[in-house]
Subunit: 349 residues, 2 copies
């Protein structure tokens, strides 16, 4: 019997509601499966913590997290009270970087029972592999002059090592998928970063002759997510492009509230962090109506990463049965509460 | 009677087909209107020209263009033969910058007769105002080291003057529209450029108390284009974000082949350039099946900029009648040729 020590950070807003719900689901599947169990340790880090302590997490927070097998996170941000750059860079992005979670994986897949806003969504099943540690989010830049002469500069920094790592991970995933990798670029407009990205892609793909490849500019790719999402298998994208494509992925599935994500330390040197695509949704927080599916599906990704594929599949099947039975929260056009959705998923396990 | 001297650059691929078609439509409306006419001067610049002369346009090309009232451009690019960064930076972007066309305007609107890929597209009518001269497309950056240590840096440069100009233009448009401006940002991830962008937006909006505003991160905004495009009126966006949103705008309308665009020198010091969103589509070039609507609608934007609103409206109405009558090219699910679509539009004028 494996016991997994999981650090739980519900975070802000609806994170505090969807995380406990997903944990109930994970505990249920653990019991049913019988081969593993979880030990959950809660950390009350986030914007409330910031308002009290002046920091989003304690100074030794990263060291603390290293003692756990994985991290299960809800959502971060209360923009009315704490500026985003403080809340996100002080917690979410700090952990992504501090734990060297250099790959962000996010599926977009038409589940049974979901109503896509697309008229004819076909059966798309996309996995976006996002470089998660540098690129456009390099926190490098500055300003010069003031008043009408003011200039701001943002530097996007791409290293061969991390670009290549994301791409290789995408090709590895493609091996056990439909054997196609699409690279998201914009080398016609961004004349330094993206030609470099393209070059690295051309080198890496030579090591995977069995995998088909294609290259699309981010603008066209965004349009294709709407026009023919079924054309894609694995997509590898930079930090910003991956961010945009995965929100779009959530949208074509039917709701951002559905979309799961994993921030992976693929070397398994430090814990990975499992965190849905959606944010803290302060407008509906505390009402018991948030959609827990994104967080529950994120739990399935954690199970997969721990090697419990069978248990993970049972969760996804239970999610699909729940949706198909019409038990859905408001964002999906239903009237169910978070509690009802969670209980229905557990029943279907 | 006004006579407009227009420089025509069909460019590459389907540009060579859709431009003459749109010109026929524009000549027809001029004749019907009776208050203006066009004098078209063709310039055979583009990738063919490059293959012969080693440059996309002559060295004095920009000076030549300054002698015209406006520029009517098709599409640029033949990636199989000329790398994109040469063809685009040597012609398209060179003209945008050389003619100080610092604003790019692109509508996304559900026309009568169009089949949106969205199940329930409502009646969206969005105008994206894109900063067109700097930002992420600053052609500034470099590389250091080689092999596994290689690093590429791309600098996005934002000046207050040009950021503000784009925003003010958006607010001006909003006055005669539905009085709402949305700013596309990503200040939670891009920590220098986008907080600056947000700051400028907060200053500019104070001068327009009658206009409502909202701010959305680009990832969420892309998702909203799919989930509820009817929520937006005018959107102001940086060069890259505007690029992505307008391709998405084309997609939710039903085809990128529909979407029009204008590169405006709002000071009217030099000619503006009217150029559809779509590219040169080498795969269908020369077959007579390209959709001319994007180019024709782009012609309507030129008429508007010249102050001929009534003539412009007649073109848009004729486009809608054509689409409603089922005369559509393949990208819109029809079987009509370019020629048939063009003739039908002219009949409906
Ligand atoms: C071809 C490319 C450089 C261009 C851009 O990104 O500006 C195009 O996508 C557009 O939107 O006009
Ligand atoms: C909140 C923000 C910084 C974050 C990102 O862009 O990475 C979010 O949008 C996400 O995708 O996880």
């Amino acid at each position: 019997m494996n016991t997994y020590k999981i650090a739980v950070i519900p975070g802000d807003g609806i994170g505090k509601e969807v995380v406990p719900a997903a944990i109930e689901v994970l505990d249920s599947i653990a019991k049913l499966d019988g081969n593993f169990k979880f030990e959950w340790t809660y950390f009350p880090w986030g914007c409330d913590y910031y308002l009290e302590h002046g920091e989003m997490m304690p100074g030794d927070g990263l060291e603390t997290l290293k003692q756990y097998d994985q991290i299960f996170l809800g959502a971060v941000g209360m923009p009315e009270l704490v500026p985003d750059h403080i809340s996100l860079w002080g917690l979410l992005i700090k952990i992504r970087r501090g734990m060297k979670q250099s790959i962000n994986v996010r599926p977009a897949k038409l589940l049974a029972g979901l109503q896509s806003p697309l008229k004819n969504p076909q059966n798309f099943d996309i996995t976006v592999v996002r470089e998660n540690s540098e690129g456009e989010y390099s926190d490098s830049g500055g300003r010069i002059h003031t008043g009408e002469d003011e200039i701001a500069i943002q530097n996007a920094i791409f290293t061969r090592k991390r670009t290549e790592r994301a791409m290789r991970y995408a090709f590895e995933l493609a091996k056990s998928s439909r054997k196609h990798v699409t690279s998201a670029t914009k080398s016609n407009g961004l004349t330094y970063s993206m030609p470099f990205w393209d070059e690295v892609f051309n080198v890496v793909k030579k090591d995977y002759p069995e995998i088909d490849t294609s290259v699309q500019h981010i603008d066209a790719l965004a349009a294709f997510f709407v026009m023919k999402p079924q054309a894609f298998d694995i997509i590898v994208a930079s930090n910003l492009f991956g961010d945009i494509l995965t929100d779009l992925g959530g949208a074509i599935m039917g709701s951002i509230g559905i979309a799961p994500a994993a921030n992976l330390n693929i070397e398994r040197e430090y814990p990975s962090m499992f965190e849905p695509v959606h944010g803290s949704a302060p407008d509906i927080a505390g009402l018991g109506i948030a959609n827990p599916i994104g967080q529950i599906w994120t739990g399935k990704m954690m199970l997969d990463f721990l090697g419990h594929y069978h248990a993970g599949t049972r969760i996804l099947t239970a999610i699909e049965k729940t949706l198909s039975s019409g038990v859905k929260t408001g964002d999906l056009g239903g009237t169910a509460t978070l509690e009802e959705v969670k209980n229905t998923v557990i029943n279907y396990l």
